[in-house]
């Protein structure tokens, strides 16, 4: 077979396969499901942030006409959690509630209003405990009696890590200048349009089906089996089309488990649709992080050593926290050459809704610190901030000091292009007071190198079936959360077979029908499912080529798949239609189907925590933000954002631009206004979209997107990711632009008018950093592939 030179589907701005249904309102989301005899459920949530549950009595609720069942913690005592080593959640509190909003009981009734009314008839006796609401309070509460959880080693510390790479002391000693700063990145939530929803049905065949708006049906499948104590083989999880996830639908949740359990009891389909307010309590959003960053440079600005301490406010449960804490230290080394690096991080428990992964998972916070510090270094040394970076960029095919392997790298091009389009040299430090421009760069992963639970199986599986009609059906466990993963499968297969995307059907995210894909997180889906799909196509193509070669009397190595035909590359008029070829191949080989799998490359690092950071490929982004900042009112108006993103290959440029712009918009929300904040009594301050400010189209400025294609060797057709990386540089670029505009450094987000005014008046205090004894560092050098030294 000859390799086609031109691509006919990949790289074209095609419409998403599910776009028309969404625009026409025909997409069936979880809340659109209506099953016969369906009943409705509600969760009773704790009004206290921290309390012992002494007793739950549902007797009065059960007497209400139309109430079908009530369950409490006693019905579901098995603990669960997304990370196998920190399973500390309960579907319903067994003996303790850990944040205001923590579920304690669930009611199913014949109507949603009745279920809600019934909540008022459940009597719960609480012993109210003192809540812990800040990182400092958590670290100071070391007494056993002050614990939020009992399983963790140090009271209220979920995880503390310390890693050291290269000669850190020597690096600082060699430096001509040392820069130190403290930073705070406020927590914020995902705010997807679609609120959480799940429908459970335990059928007469003794099998359970759960439909849910989830990004991770496979992990949910495992959690259901564990908590419900049912064989996984009798559980089917179907991820319905997700109306936005951004990381917030990646954990197994109470409402999902309770929908299943209530259906097992009532033998009727049970639906949960959470309110917007409840979404703020379920949360799993961006961690509030306090940071201390230190960078040593030569007088020409080259980095000699870098050191970070991060303090994560985790909320009431572990969720992804184990990964989150490592991510606050993993990727600082992936943009500039850093010869020595040390990272210490700690995630604490507090009595607030649990934090987890949100677009960029744990990396926007340290990137905010790093890029502001780079700007400060450039300022002090009198170097243009772009030049400072350009002289020490990481290179393609290199290994960072912490052992991360970079394949393709378009960072230089991203910097140059964005600078040119924004006319950086003309504007930087040359605009009048109140008008400024700022720059930042960043790197992100294309899929986590390790699965959430240890196993040797592929991260993504694809199965393809060819039909005599010429139709192709692809089965894959991947979950379309709006990012377009269904479309990616179609584009890859259409390109491989040279057929029209319309002739391909996609069946995804159904644990009964589709091979496992680990889920829509860590920007892993395009690279992993794309490669698996191409592999499956390759197996089928061998069979098709054999049949076509015989029928056409053309050697297989002269055949190509193009324009709906299998044809001779040298004599294109000699060919047969794809459908005819399928018929011939089926006659020859029998029923046609094949599978493909994808495993990421082996992790070259072998130390505790080494799973966080490695990836098949890194993406790079740069942003320039131009803004106006009013010195009288402190108000910021973003004029324009230029963003360049190295996505490897733009599988579909329309989708890549969409993801990039979406990231910019979300980043601006985090930079300027969004905050998940709490009252002194631990209750969420603003659990509604009216009060939780997020940008709308009105606040979103013009965005100019520049796609840089580096055609990565590991990516399908060279593609990397676009869903998360472009968020990262925008937030620090805003802060750097504020400095250019009015001359004050803001080391905190959101950058609100009051902070600007306090900074202008010299009253904005530096972010305080808590005291904490980190464990002795684990020291590691790249190249050896072994641990150098490990103190306990």
């Amino acid at each position: 077979m000859t390799r086609k030179k031109t691509l006919s589907v990949i790289g074209k701005p095609l419409r998403k396969v599910d776009a028309m249904a969404k625009c026409a309102g025909e997409t069936v989301y979880a809340d659109d499901l209506n099953l016969p005899r369906m009943i409705y459920a509600k969760l009773l949530r704790s009004p206290h942030p921290h309390a012992r549950v002494l007793g739950v009595n549902a007797a009065r609720a059960l007497t209400l006409d139309g109430v079908c069942a009530v369950i409490t913690g006693q019905d579901l005592p098995e603990k669960f959690g997304i990370m196998p080593s920190t399973e500390d959640e309960e579907a319903l509190a067994v003996d303790k509630v850990r944040y205001a909003g923590d579920p304690v009981a669930a009611v199913a009734a014949i109507s949603e209003s009745l279920a809600e009314q019934a909540l008022g008839y459940i009597d719960v006796e609480y012993e109210v405990l003192k809540p812990i609401l800040s990182i400092e309070e958590a670290l100071a509460s070391t007494e056993e009696s002050q614990r939020i959880h009992t399983w963790n080693r140090r009271a209220n510390v979920q995880k503390a890590v310390s890693l050291e790479f290269g000669d850190i002391e020597g690096g600082f000693a060699r430096s001509d200048h040392i820069f130190e700063g403290t930073f705070f990145y406020q927590g914020n939530t995902h705010l997807p349009m679609e609120q959480y929803c799940a429908v459970g049905f335990y059928g007469p065949d003794d099998k359970l089906t759960l439909w849910s708006s989830t990004q991770t049906p496979h992990y949910l499948h495992r959690a259901l089996a564990k908590v419900l104590k049912l064989p996984a083989s009798r559980i089917r999880v179907i991820a319905t089309p997700v109306g936005g996830g951004f990381g917030g639908k990646s954990d197994p949740f109470s409402h999902e488990i309770c929908a299943a359990k209530l259906s097992m009891i009532t033998r009727r389909p049970v639906k949960f649709t959470l309110s917007r307010e409840e979404c703020f309590y379920v949360h799993r959003g961006r961690h509030p992080v306090k940071m201390w960053a230190k960078t040593g440079v030569k007088s020409d600005g080259t980095i000699q050593a870098m050191q970070y301490k991060t303090f994560l406010d985790g909320g009431g449960y572990s969720s992804y926290g184990l990964a989150s804490v490592y991510y606050t230290g993993a990727l600082q080394t992936v943009t500039y050459k850093v010869p020595a690096y040390k990272f210490e991080g700690v995630r604490v428990f507090t009595n607030k809704p649990p934090c987890g992964p949100k677009r960029g998972h744990g990396t926007p916070q340290p990137r905010f610190a790093e890029e502001i510090q780079m700007d400060e270094i450039a300022e002090k040394l009198g170097i243009d901030p772009l030049d400072l970076r350009l002289k020490q960029l990481v290179e393609a095919n290199s290994v960072t000091i912490n052992g991360l392997q970079i394949s393709s790298c378009g960072l230089r091009e991203c910097i140059e292009k964005v600078a040119e389009r924004a006319e950086w040299k003309k504007k930087f430090r040359k605009l009048p007071f109140g008008h400024g421009i700022g720059f930042a760069a960043s790197a992100y992963i294309t899929g986590a190198g390790l699965p959430i639970y240890r196993n040797d199986m592929p991260h993504s599986g694809v199965q393809i079936k060819l039909d005599r009609s010429g139709g192709v059906t692809v089965f894959c466990g991947s979950t379309d959360i709006g990012q377009g993963s269904d479309s990616i499968l179609v584009y890859a297969i259409a390109e491989e077979f040279g057929i029209d995307p319309v002739d391909i059907r996609v069946v995804t995210a159904d644990t009964d029908l589709t091979p496992v894909d680990l889920g829509s997180y860590s920007s892993r889906v395009t690279i992993m499912t794309g490669n698996a799909a191409i592999q499956a196509c390759g197996k089928l193509k061998l069979m098709l080529l054999e049949a076509a070669s015989e029928a056409l009397e053309v050697p297989a190595d002269d055949l190509e798949f193009a324009e709906g035909q299998v044809r001779s590359a040298s004599l294109p008029q000699r060919g047969i239609g794809f459908a005819e070829c399928v018929v011939k191949a089926e006659g020859k080989h029998g029923t046609l189907g094949a599978t493909g799998s994808y495993w990421p490359p082996k992790n070259p690092r072998e130390f505790k925590g080494s799973g966080v950071g490695p990836t098949p490929a890194y993406t790079f982004s740069t942003a320039i933000v131009e803004l106006h900042c009013d010195g009288e009112t402190g108000e910021i108006k973003i004029d324009k954002v230029w963003i360049a993103h190295d996505c490897g290959r733009a599988f579909n440029p329309l989708l890549v631009e969409g993801q990039t712009e979406g990231s910019v918009y979300m980043a601006l929300g985090e930079a300027l206004m969004e905050e998940q904040i709490f009252r002194k009594n631990g209750l969420h301050k603003i659990p509604s979209i009216l009060e939780y400010k997020s940008p709308t189209t009105l606040e979103t400025p013009e965005i100019e997107t520049i796609l840089v294609e580096t055609i990565d060797p590991e990516g399908p057709y060279g593609a990397k990711e676009a869903g998360q990386g472009p968020l990262l540089p925008v937030v620090p670029a805003v802060s750097n632009a504020v400095y250019d505009a009015i001359g004050v450094r803001i080391h905190e987000v959101p950058i609100t008018p009051d902070k600007i005014l306090r900074a202008l008046e010299g009253r904005l205090k530096a972010v305080s950093i808590p005291k904490f004894d980190f464990p002795a560092p684990l020291k590691w050098q790249p190249g050896q592939g072994v641990q150098v030294e490990q103190k306990s």
Binding site: D31, S113, T273, E277, L683, E691
Partner: protein, 182 residues
């Protein structure tokens, strides 16, 4: 999703029927015009009426006319209509501006000027769901005893949030009130 609790919906054909219904049903009844304030508050348990008497479609509340004393504006006119009316825009631009600055187009299409004048007062402790108010402790405006803004206060300090009322007051507007006698 927050559910609207059950209630009886009364749809009178004339203003007279409406006032009679309100009088007959007593304190458990409320008038509803556009419903943009009433329905969300019922979902959050701030209003708990058993009966709603609808003022929609009452011809007596419609129309914007010039009279010998000035302008007569029907309470049932939408905020959109008030903000776009030619005479109002020309002679009372502040009123047109106030009506046009309320929330969003959808809300202005549904919301009436009568409802806007009588819109409930706002407070961060009060404009919350039942769960939240219960968790923080109810205040005297609904279900509780004390004021959470000023615990020593004997009365509720929630503020009026109507955009048109201050303009109407400053223009010296007069409200025409009706009851079941007329």
């Amino acid at each position: 999703m927050l559910r609207l609790p059950e209630f009886n919906y009364v749809r009178p054909r004339s203003l007279r029927e409406a006032t009679k219904a309100l009088a007959a049903l007593g304190p458990e009844a409320m008038a509803v015009a556009g419903g943009t304030d009433v329905y969300p508050k019922m979902k959050r348990g701030q209003f708990t009426p058993r009966h709603l008497v609808s003022l929609r479609g009452l011809r007596e509340l419609k129309g914007i006319r010039q009279t010998k004393d000035g302008l007569w504006i029907g309470a049932g006119e939408s905020l959109t209509a008030v903000s776009r009316h030619r005479v109002i825009a020309k002679r009372l631009p502040a009123l047109a501006h106030a009506a046009g600055s309320v929330s969003t187009p959808q809300l202005r299409n549904m919301g009436t000027i009568g409802g806007n004048v009588l819109v409930d007062t706002r407070c961060n402790y009060y404009d919350q769901t039942f769960f939240w108010r219960q968790a923080v402790g109810f205040c005297m405006k609904k279900d509780g005893q004390i004021c959470l803004v000023a615990p020593g206060s004997e009365k509720c300090l929630a503020i009026a949030s109507s955009d048109t009322a201050p303009v109407l007051v400053s223009l010296g507007a007069v409200a025409v009130l009706v009851n079941k006698q007329g």
